[in-house]
Amino acid sequence: MTALSIDHVSKSFGGVDAVADISMQVPAGRITGLIGPNGAGKTTLINLITGILTVSKGHIRFGEQDITQAPAHMVARAGITRTFQNIRLLTEASVIDNVMIGFYRRERSSTLASLLGLPAARNETVSLRARALALLELFGMAHLAEHEAGGLAYGHQRRVEMMRALASEPALILLDEPVAGMNDVEAAELGEIFTRLAREGMGVLLIEHNVRFVTQLCHHIYVLDSGRMIASGTPTEVVNNPAVITAYLGT
């Protein structure tokens, strides 16, 4: 069971610390929460984990692998997938194309086979299409398969991003505000999906503003404020923590 372990990680931009001395564990099979007021550094931390930003100090380990310096595509190949806070779909592509690109890291066709258009490569495309369609049906969006991703309603776009992330069969999924802007019903639906994923062995790091949503789902919550960890514990502990209350009321 691979766990993500963040060890005293800091990131500074020209002398200013965006995040400082962050340590946390994201175990497999559980949903871990990361909350904090706006600008606390949550997305920065995600970017550090996924290799978009380089770590200034500290280490990040995923299972046995040290991924501190790994570039973005290598982090993805190690089994870590993320969703984006502002949805980043490929707007010109269809919904099903967006989901299919999610399968990339699991595809087995070699570059050469693809370049030559060998049957193996083409067949894999066909089978991926079927799997993508199955995923779409699971999320109730099969009828939108060929639609342009850019033209979808907000809730649908969020779901496409989720499907794309799931398509890569990650060992750990980083969700950056996945239910932002959703009503309670939609959020609850997604929450159930997250719970099921964790039960099936995936590690889930959930970043959210919706504190009630987070406390309902997570086994353990970390609280960030101004780039530092100010609290860590079970949902009940965190919600009653005076430092946390001040941080949120202060915004």
């Binding site: 978009i52 973005a72 595509h73 490929l90 083409r122 060929e146 794309r164």
Partner: protein, 290 residues
């Protein structure tokens, strides 16, 4: 009748070669690279093929293969420094590359004949060989679009951060795109060499850059048919009437401006998109409002 065939025979050859260059330009842009290096790589391929056959006595097929490999190597080499640049800066860097190639071709007259040209190249290929080459390249390009390579290119082109986050190595794919682009450019440069009695460095200068870019912009940057349709239109239009031919460059210019203003995706891509949207509209019942 034979006059008609002769004139249009030549035009057809020009079209085939132009389509090749257009595809070379197309494939790098597919992977999100704004490179205009095609003309430079074509120049290298053309001179290499001519030199290999006329000076070293290679069989023309071997020379074409050599031109192809050399083009790929140059493309690969270019990709390394260009990996650090994006957008406009890639365009300028590759434009500089084209200028450097032309300057060197002009300067090394012992090797290339300089400004006076590389003369007495035997005509070793005709329409058939060029057509075969084009068909092969088209096949490979459609193969790319139907497999994970095409998906990777498309993801990189639309959003690099997303592509990386899904495990796609941007550097690897852009280098690959450059190499493929160079291979195609080199091959068609060689084909052009074996159809022209003389080679001049100026043939592969700024006008060649504009031509390849125009074919792709007009036809479409996404579908394989785009560059070919673009080449067909831009090469045939000046033939329709004398005034159009006289003002050929102005015609190209006007088309470019109109395309960007009204059909920015290019003719073929816009058409395909419209068809797709109509098909979806017909198949989908009206959605309940969210």
């Amino acid at each position: 009748m034979s006059d008609f065939l002769n004139t249009y025979h030549h035009l057809f050859n020009v079209f085939l070669i132009g389509s090749g260059y257009a595809l070379s330009q197309w494939v790098v842009m597919r992977a999100g690279v704004f490179s205009v290096a095609t003309a430079g790589m074509a120049s290298i391929g053309a001179y290499a093929a001519a030199i290999l056959t006329t000076r070293l006595g290679w069989h023309y097929l071997a020379s074409l293969l050599g031109a192809l490999v050399l083009g790929a190597a140059v493309g690969l080499l270019l990709s390394w420094p260009l990996a650090r640049l994006r957008g406009v800066f890639q365009a300028i860097a590759t434009l500089a590359f084209v200028q450097v190639v032309m300057a060197i071709a002009l300067f090394s007259d012992s090797l290339t004949g300089g400004a006076m040209g590389f003369n007495a190249i035997p005509t070793l290929v005709g329409t058939v060989e060029t057509l075969i080459a084009l068909v092969l390249v088209v096949y490979l390009m459609t193969a790319i679009s139907a497999t994970r390579l095409g998906r990777a290119f498309e993801a990189i082109r639309q959003n690099e951060a997303v592509a990386s986050s899904l495990g796609v190595s941007v550097n690897f794919h852009q280098a690959l795109a450059f190499a493929i682009s160079g291979a195609i450019a080199g091959l068609f440069g060689g084909l052009e060499a074996f159809q022209s009695f003389t080679l001049f460095p100026a043939t592969f200068g700024f006008p060649a850059v504009i031509a390849a870019l125009s074919y792709v912009v007009l036809g479409g940057r996404r579908s394989v048919a785009g560059p070919i349709v673009g080449a067909a239109i831009l090469l045939v239009l000046p033939e329709i009437s004398r005034p159009l031919a006289d003002y050929r460059m102005a015609l190209y210019g006007a088309i470019l401006m109109l395309v960007i203003a009204f059909l920015p995706r290019g003719i073929v891509d816009t058409g395909l998109l419209a068809l797709r949207r109509r098909r979806i509209a017909r198949l989908t019942p009206p959605e309940p409002r969210e």
